[in-house]
Structures are given as C-alpha cells and as structure tokens.
C-alpha cells in the first residue's frame, strides 16, 4: 500500500522532539480537507496579528494522561497555526468535556464565548448525539442554535464531525449525524472539518491502524497531531483574504 511509506516517514520523524512541519502521514489526507466557506472574522484577526480560537468539544477532543492536554488536537492546532502564521499571536482555549451532546454544549456556549472572545469557534460534536440516538431534528436545531450564538458573539465557526471508530462502527449510527451536520453547515455556510472521512482514509491507506486494540497512547497522539495540522490548513485556507467574498461579513 502506498500509505506505508508516509507511515514509515512519520515513524522516523517521531524520533525528533517536535515536528518542524506537517508530517507526511497527515498529508495523505490533505486533499480531503475542503474549504467551503470563508471565515471573515479569522481573516480580520490574522490581519490584526492576534488570533484567539475557542475549541468546544466532547470526549474525542481530549486525550487521557498527564500530557493529554498538550498532545490533544486543540494544543496541536495552536502549535501548527503559530508555525503557519508567523508574527500572529495564536491562542487556543479549550472547553472540552466528555459525553456532551450538541444541545448540552450549546447551552454553555454563550459564557464560554464571552470569556474567550475568540475570532473562531471550533465545535467538535455529534458523537455523543449518535451514541444516544438523539432525535436528528433536535441535533440540527442544537447545531443551528450554537452557530447563531457564536456568530452573534462575533466568532466564525468551523464544525468537526465524529471520529472514524471502526470497532464501534456497527453500534453507533455516525453517518446519519455526519450527514445532518453537513446539511446544517451548508445552510449556515459554515465549513466542516470532515474528521470522519479523513480518519477513514488513514485507516484505508494503512497510515494509522485504527483497528488496533492497543491501550497505549502512541497512535492516539499521532492522530491528534495530524488533526491539529489539517485543521490549521483548513482555517488558514478559508481565511485567505484574497477570496473575493471573504469580507462579505454576516
């Protein structure tokens, strides 16, 4: 499989203390990252040399262990953005707690946004809704509510859908919720970071063994690192000021 070579390269690069640039393992999935809609507030924030981001998420935005916070994708996103945007002060704050549905997260968005005053809210959700089979109408309504709260707080929004989790695939109807999130995103003109398809591609190419029954954190940390990188690609791309309608505002 062609995925093996980047995988080996990634292993080699693991030997270094930190990656100087996006590891090749992530890159196999770069074409999956779509820039759908502009992020005008982020464009402005980058121009003003200060980019504050709030990541709101559930359990799959966290990693366990003492270094969990450092290695989970929100921290990796901050590192990647700092590299991609030299001279811009990037700060990512996180509001992640396991087992929260979109509706539960939407309830606490307003105070979290007021505290962080971000230009961008990255919202990871859908997994717990799928696990609890929350009514899809209610799921969509919660997403819309959350997006509106963020927009009225002056923040752009990027949505992140569920992880591709092959072992539990026959138990959680993730597809339905990913679909519904996609529809809301289209109607609200918000980009989706399609984590599900990206991770599925990694699994298909053999980049990461997501079937592994390992109890160790190594794969999890590399996956989160790649998610941080690819997410930073999406944000920087979507915020490029040369996009003609990027400044249209909301």
């Amino acid at each position: 499989m062609t995925g093996r070579i980047p995988f080996l390269l990634a292993l080699l690069m693991l030997a270094g203390p930190a990656w100087a640039e996006q590891p090749d393992a992530c890159r196999v999935a770069s074409p999956q990252v779509q820039r759908d809609f502009p992020l005008p507030q982020v464009t402005r924030a980058i121009a003003a040399k200060r980019l504050d981001i709030l990541v709101v998420g559930a359990g799959s935005s966290l990693l366990p262990g003492p270094n969990g916070a450092k290695n989970a994708y929100p921290a990796r996103l901050q590192m990647a953005l700092a590299e991609l945007l030299p001279g811009v002060a990037v700060k990512v704050t996180t509001d992640a707690k396991a087992r929260r549905t979109a509706a539960e997260m939407a309830k606490t968005l307003a105070p979290a946004l007021a505290a962080a005053k971000p230009a961008l809210m990255v919202w990871q959700t859908g997994t717990v809704d799928a696990m609890q089979s929350v009514d899809t109408d209610q799921f969509r309504a919660a997403l819309e509510r959350g997006i509106n709260i963020a927009h009225s707080a002056g923040a752009d929004v990027v949505l992140i859908n569920a992880q591709y989790s092959p072992r539990t695939e026959s138990m959680i109807a993730l597809g339905t919720y990913a679909e519904n999130m996609h529809w809301v995103a289209l109607q609200q003109e918000v980009p989706v970071f399609d984590r599900f398809s990206i991770m599925k591609l990694w699994a298909d190419l053999g980049t990461f063994d997501l079937y592994s029954a390992t109890k160790k954190l190594d794969i999890a940390e590399r996956v989160h690192d790649c998610i941080g990188w690819l997410l930073s690609d999406l944000i920087v791309e979507a915020a490029k000021p040369d996009e003609p309608h990027a400044e249209s505002g909301r």
Binding site: Q34, D36, A58, G59, S60, L63, P64, G65, A98, R99, T127, V128, M131, Q132, S133, V134, D135, T136, D137, Q138, R140, Q163, S165, P166, R167, T168, E169, S170, M171, I172, A173, T176, E179, N180, H182, W183, L186, Q187, K200, A203, D204, L210, Y211, S212, A213, T214, K215, K216, L217, I219, A220, V223
Partner: protein, 386 residues
Amino acid sequence: MAPVPTERDLRLDLFRGIALWLIFLDHIPSNAVSWITIRNYGFSDATEIFVFISGYTAAFVYGRAMLEHGFIVAGARVLKRAWQIYIAHVFLFVIYLAEISYVASSFNNPLFSEEMGVLDFLKNPDVTIFEALILKFKPVNMDVLPLYIVLLLWFAPMLWLLLRAPSFALAASAAVYALTWWFDWSIPAYPHGNWVFNPFAWQLLFVFGAWCALGGAQRLARWINSPVIFGLAVAYLLFAFGIAMTWYFPRLGAFVPNFVSEAIYPIDKPNLDVLRILHFLSLAEITVWFVPRGWPVLKSPVFWPAIVCGQHSLETFCLGVFLAFAGHFMFTEVSNRLLMHVIVSVAGIVIMVAVAALVSWYRRIERKGPGPRPPSIEPGYAGGDA
C-alpha cells in the same frame, strides 16, 4: 370487491431479493463494496423497495386469505407473521449482545474512549434487555424488523378496508402520513430519540404496495405507460444523482444554488421524506418500463438466486443482519483490505442464496407431507412468503 391477481409476479421476488442483498451490503460498516448500492446515487435506498414489495406481497397473500376465509382467519395469520418477525428480531438482538460484549471486553484504545461509552448499557442489562423486548431499544441497523412488526399489526384492518374501498384506504394512509409530518407523530425509543423508521410515515409505502397489489397497479397503467411520466422520472433520477455526487465531491456543491439546498435538506429518512418517495417512485417507473410482467427471462437461471432470496425474505433478511455483524467482525479481526471486503460481500450473498434455497426445499417437502394443507391459503403459496 377488488380482484386479487392469481399468479405471483416474479418481478416482486426478484427486486425484493436484490433489495435484501443491498441491505446486507449497506449494513456492513465501511464496506467498500457498498459503493454499488443505490443509496449512493440518489435519495432513496433498498429499504423503500423492501417495504413497498412487502406491502404488495402481504396484500397478495393475506388478501386472498381474507376473501376466502374471512377477516378473523386472515387477521390471525397476519398476527402470527408479526409474532414470527418479533422472535426473529429478538434472536438477532441476542447475537448483537454477544458481539458488543466481545468488543467491550477486548478493546480499550484511548483514542476512542468516548465511543466506547456506547457499551455502557451493558452495565444495566435488566433495563436494556427489557427495553429491547418492548422494541424501544434498537441497535443500529436493527430497525427494519420492528417497523415491519408494527406495519403488520395494523395491516388486518387496513387490508379489510383496502378490499372494500381501495382508494379510500390509500387516501386514509396518505392522510396519516401528512398528519405525521404536521403533528410530529413518532414512537419514542430508548434511551433517547425516536424510532429510526417512523411507522406512521413508512406505512404509506406499505399500504401503497398493498393497494397496487389489489388492482391499483392496473388503475395506474395509463400513468405508468405515459412517456411524460417516464421523462419526469428520468429527470428526477438525474437530479437526485447530481445532488448525491455533491455529497462525495463537495466542490461540486458550488453548482447547487443555495435555495436548492435550503429546499431539499434535511432529507428526512425516519419520516420517509417526500424526496425519497419520489425517488423510489421514479425508480419503480423506470423498472416497470423496462421489465414487463411475465417477462420470460425472469424464469431464467440468471435471476433465480435473487428470486429465491426474495421469496423467503424474512429468513434472508435476518441472515443478512447476522452476516453483516460477522462481516464487520472479519474486517476488525482478520483484515480490512479491499480483497477482504469483496470476499465478505460475495460470500455473504452466496450464503444468503444457499439458505434461501434450503428454506425453499424445506417448504416443498413439508407441503408434500401429510395433513390437509390447501396450498392456496398458505403464505408460501407460489413458493413465496408474505
């Protein structure tokens, strides 16, 4: 009274068999072979075909029984069938429990700690198993049989009405569908949400199938044979195909005007969205146009595997659900390469055909056995089930 056609239409068995294969392929998570199934190229999927044909054959089999033996006898047969399906559903649930208990005890990857929470219900099996028995707790992909049970439970009175006033019965069914959308009727599920297939909505397709079986198809013949309808069906299928392509190639989404997205999304599968009904009707129109009733090729050996599966749909469906579990197990435990996907998919269909053929053979020798069993009132009449 509406006439009940005497000879079973092999097209129904053929397409129900194909629908069962497609449901099997779609039920194996991340199955590469499921790219060939119709749900990827439009709004509707194999479920619509299965429900419509099940309604058609139920009316065909029990309609005859009701005319010959009356409401009580036919109604009792329908309820017996619902009971059989309930037993099959519980059987599948037990297999599901075994599968997830295995995953719970063998898998603990920290990357997926959130997802593993789905296994928490194993901690209070008393509640879960009870909720499963009353059909409120339904694992993923195990929603079709509960829908079928509910549809059969109210089918006897519906059939009575269909035999006397078919148009009125169809109108009543459509009214229930419309009221469901208006008032958000649904059946609650455990622990949250509602049934994945809302019976108040999906009954429309089942009753429409039954209505077609009881003479409705002849009444529609003028419409079915109209080139205008045919053209509209083709146009609609092309439109749905175009929209479906934007799901896989998001860049194509730029060609879809915003008002179109506003209008079509969400495509509501639980409540059988109108877009899905139209897609199914268009597919049916094209199919009827190209595959005429009594087409001699239908009796050729090429179509036999699908037809035999369609004739024993309950057994084949349940086996398909089980094989989908087993297939997913192969992906996780043995290999997840494309070759494995192809092997699992093909082997699954071969097993479904083999078991359906075995069931068919059993029915034949049972019918030859002792006891007065006039074949005309057996559900297995003409080699098929309801």
